[in-house]
């Protein structure tokens, strides 16, 4: 389960509309990328889906249940990691199970499982400042998964990483996603990233952001980044996005 539906969602910020009439859905187990020019309200949509802010208009549902207040059935992965600096790798991953009051052995078991899943074995006792950017984001992903979410919300999670690490992390994310099969809503401004990762790409307009076009990426995984099919989709998405970027720059 994990079907996210947005119905005519609008949200104002400081008097101007950040996002208007957003209408799309993430099907159960689907990987959707939200792509748009900067300032179009991608992050706003993500925060609304997480229940961290509420929409001014419109409604949002997870598995048919309207989201009111913080959505505790989703896991959020933040761009700047947002790890608890005073907790070790293991402590960060255990945070969710711990605050839910799970017994200690259960917390241990869950953290063990996700530490292994994201490839952090041997790094359990290190603090975030002792980890590289890629490692930190592995912790972020494991922490979100450890909370057993129906939906994973990712806000440009690899934006702060160098190109090499970024490619590795994208492949890692797909490997984890295929194992756990949680729906993903992934915000990015990189067309390459979206084409490599997504089942569907939602392209947004410039501010106020709304859905401009939705692309199906019907390519088998693992995808070859430079395959002709990928290039065709990349071209179409870029063209759709290009006019919006010009609008945003104006």
């Amino acid at each position: 389960m994990g079907r996210l539906v947005l119905k005519k969602v609008s949200r104002k910020f400081n008097g101007f509309l950040a996002t208007e009439n957003m209408d799309f859905e993430v099907a159960d187990g689907e990987f959707v990328c939200l792509l748009g020019p900067s300032g179009c309200g991608k992050t706003t949509i993500l925060r609304i889906a997480a229940g961290l802010i509420s929409p001014d208009e419109g409604e949002i549902f997870l598995d048919g249940k309207k989201i009111v207040g913080v959505n505790k059935e989703c896991g959020v992965v933040f761009q700047e990691y947002a790890l608890f600096p005073w907790r070790t790798t293991k402590g960060n991953i255990m945070f969710g199970p711990e605050v839910k009051g799970m017994p200690k052995e259960e917390c241990e078991r869950i953290s063990r499982h996700y530490i292994d899943l994201v490839g952090l074995a041997g790094f359990e006792k290190l603090y975030p400042h002792e980890l590289s950017g890629g490692m930190k984001q592995r912790v972020g992903i494991a922490r979100a998964y450890a909370n057993n979410p129906k939906l994973l919300l990712m806000d440009e999670p690899f934006g702060a990483l160098d190109a090499q690490t970024r490619n590795i992390m994208q492949a890692e994310l797909l490997r984890i996603w295929e194992k756990e099969h949680v729906s993903v809503l992934f915000v990015t401004h990189s067309v390459d990233e979206a084409v490599y990762l997504a089942d569907r790409i939602v392209v947004m307009t410039a501010r106020p952001g709304t859905v401009k076009e939705i692309f199906e990426v019907d390519l088998p995984r693992p995808r070859v980044r430079t395959s002709p099919e990928a290039n065709v989709i990349r071209d179409r998405v870029l063209r759709s996005l290009g006019t919006e970027i010009q609008m945003a720059m104006r």
Binding site: N71, A82, P85, G96, V99, Y127, H129
Partner: protein, 268 residues
């Protein structure tokens, strides 16, 4: 390379301290031999470093002169430290929760801020008359409390307010309740600031206790000791007491810094 420059630094530190003592000695000796004196200052009455050192050794421990008992610097130090510790514990128990409340809750901030802002601008010394005339018992502990509680409150507020909002968001989406957010996110995040508040507070508390003991005239305490020695014209003992005060303040500051480093390993 690094060790070399560190060693060099330490050597300069020691040399500088030695030069200071030398200058002190020279000034006093020149005044005593009428070679040089600063007008209107009785430099000749200042004890030399060596006299101070012997005074320190001589007055370190309690002595009896016939029927009279004289407390040693060790006793005075113990008494002053005890007051600072007692006042400090109370200030910590009061200051940290108040700081967390004011920093975290807008309402509580609005209620308490005007009071805090006025009261914290009354120096601890301004409270001494109140302590003497009204409180009587525990007056000096109260002065320490006043000196320490505001640095602790203000630094706790600062720590709470500078909690990264993304960490709070992360905790919320991970299912943390409001109270768990405070105990598991806000307090750990504010902890380094709270320690800084404690460190600054100890400095203020230590200054306040010395002043309070002079005025309150507690029969034992370093402030009382240096005032009394000055009164009796035993300047070497007086200066020895002053140096003990400085060294203890320095040691307290360093100890908190060391504790902070040891317990807060997660700060880069």
């Amino acid at each position: 390379m690094k060790i070399d420059s560190e060693r060099k630094g330490l050597a300069i530190n020691i040399l500088s301290l030695f030069c200071f003592l030398l200058l002190w000695h020279a000034l006093v000796m020149m005044a005593r031999n009428d070679i040089f004196n600063i007008p209107f200052m009785r430099l000749r009455d200042i004890p030399t470093p060596i006299e101070t050192w012997y005074a320190l050794l001589g007055s370190m421990f309690t002595k009896t002169y016939g029927p009279a008992l004289t407390y040693g610097i060790a006793d005075h130090t113990r008494a002053s430290l005890l007051r600072v510790v007692e006042g400090g514990i109370i200030a910590f128990i009061v200051g940290v929760p108040v700081g967390i409340g004011v920093g975290y809750s807008k309402l509580l901030g609005n209620i308490l801020n005007p009071i805090i802002e006025i009261v914290r601008n009354m120096p601890p010394m301004a409270w001494i008359p109140l302590a003497i005339f009204i409180l009587v018992a525990g007056g000096s502990i109260f002065i320490v409390f006043i000196g320490m509680v505001f640095p602790i409150i203000l630094n706790t507020v600062h720590g709470v307010k500078s909690t990264d909002s993304r960490l709070i968001d992360a905790a919320k989406t991970l299912g943390a309740s409001e109270s768990k957010i405070v105990t598991l996110v806000v307090i750990p995040s504010a902890f380094p600031s709270i320690m800084t508040g404690l460190r600054i507070g100890l400095g203020v508390g230590w200054m306040a206790i010395v002043a309070a003991e002079m005025v309150i005239r507690s029969p034992v305490g370093l402030g009382y000791f240096i005032w009394n020695m000055g009164d009796l014209g035993r300047y070497a003992e007086m200066v020895a007491g002053m140096i003990v005060i400085g060294v203890i303040g320095y040691v307290m500051n360093i100890s908190i810094l060391v504790l902070q480093k040891r317990f807060i390993r997660w700060v880069d």
